[in-house]
Amino acid sequence: MEGDSSTTDASQLGMPGEYMAGSHYVLQSQDDDCDESLHDHEEGNGSKENFREQDIYLPIANVARIMKNAVPQTGKIAKDAKECVQECVSEFISFITSEASERCHQEKRKTINGEDILFAMSTLGFDMYVEPLKLYLQKFREAMKGEKGIGGISVTEGLGEELTDDSFANQLPAGIITADGQQQNVMVYTTSYQQIPGVQQIQFS
């Protein structure tokens, strides 16, 4: 076998299970022997191999956390389900991006902008995300504007880290929390969602 990172070496690609070429089935591993770290793709500073678009994944820990918060509290998630969603996510991103890119090209533009993304979602059957996304963007912009007013305090690393249990309980006016005793316009995001079948609303606190 050649040493190229093609599909035959499933473990390199962080793909779960064993795939049979040319069939409609995927072999299910009898035992849970997949090393967790294999499914977290290299951080980019490692291999510079030619990855196909579906070979790059978001970290499984992040994906699993979002899933866990989405299902009822008593619910559990099988390991291969997490890995599967991890792959689906990359597929989703590529799906949206291709569509957005196409529209961009049609309008003779080179840079994909927010509108292209929203349009792509509408076109591809994810129009239920559009309104929550617009709302999110609006609040994000407001938070950014506020930042300028206080002399450019960075709303990046360091802020918003200390989320106590209290901050998950109530819905505070969006965009304003206190950190270190100072009032700053920072967007704090809770990962506890209201369970609405099919669609998640965005909560800000």
Partner: protein
């Protein structure tokens, strides 16, 4: 594991924007699409956020769609949801239904086919 530390740093940066996914990684995936030249910040932000919504959407739909017996989201729940719901049908190629090795071997016995070189 040292790998996790790297993730943690990235998570903190993302958290303050109200997202729990690393945007740099999302950008990498976006850039790997053919003919994509550049992506503006807003597009990246929206895509990352949308991805979160997507994970929730897929997970919850599949969970509700499942057998519901032991309250566990299984691979098969995902495969079934993808097959049944139009929104998720773009995923059918990457979510084949699983089969145990012994069942596959049985199938082969019954329907002998030429084995592809692995």
């Amino acid at each position: 594991m040292s790998g996790n530390n790297g993730e943690e740093k990235v998570n903190h940066a993302s958290n303050s924007k109200g997202i729990s996914l690393p945007m740099t990684r999302v950008k990498l995936i976006m850039k790997s699409s053919p003919d994509v030249s550049s992506i503006n910040q807003e597009a990246l932000l929206l895509t990352t956020k949308a991805t979160e919504l997507f994970v929730q959407h897929l997970a919850l739909s599949s969970f509700n769609n499942g057998s519901g017996k032991d309250q566990t989201l299984l691979y098969s729940d995902l495969a079934n949801t993808v097959e049944e719901k139009e929104t998720f049908q773009f995923l059918t190629d990457i979510l084949p239904k699983k089969i145990l090795v012994r069942d596959y071997l049985k199938l082969l016995e019954e329907n002998p086919i030429e084995e592809a070189d692995n």
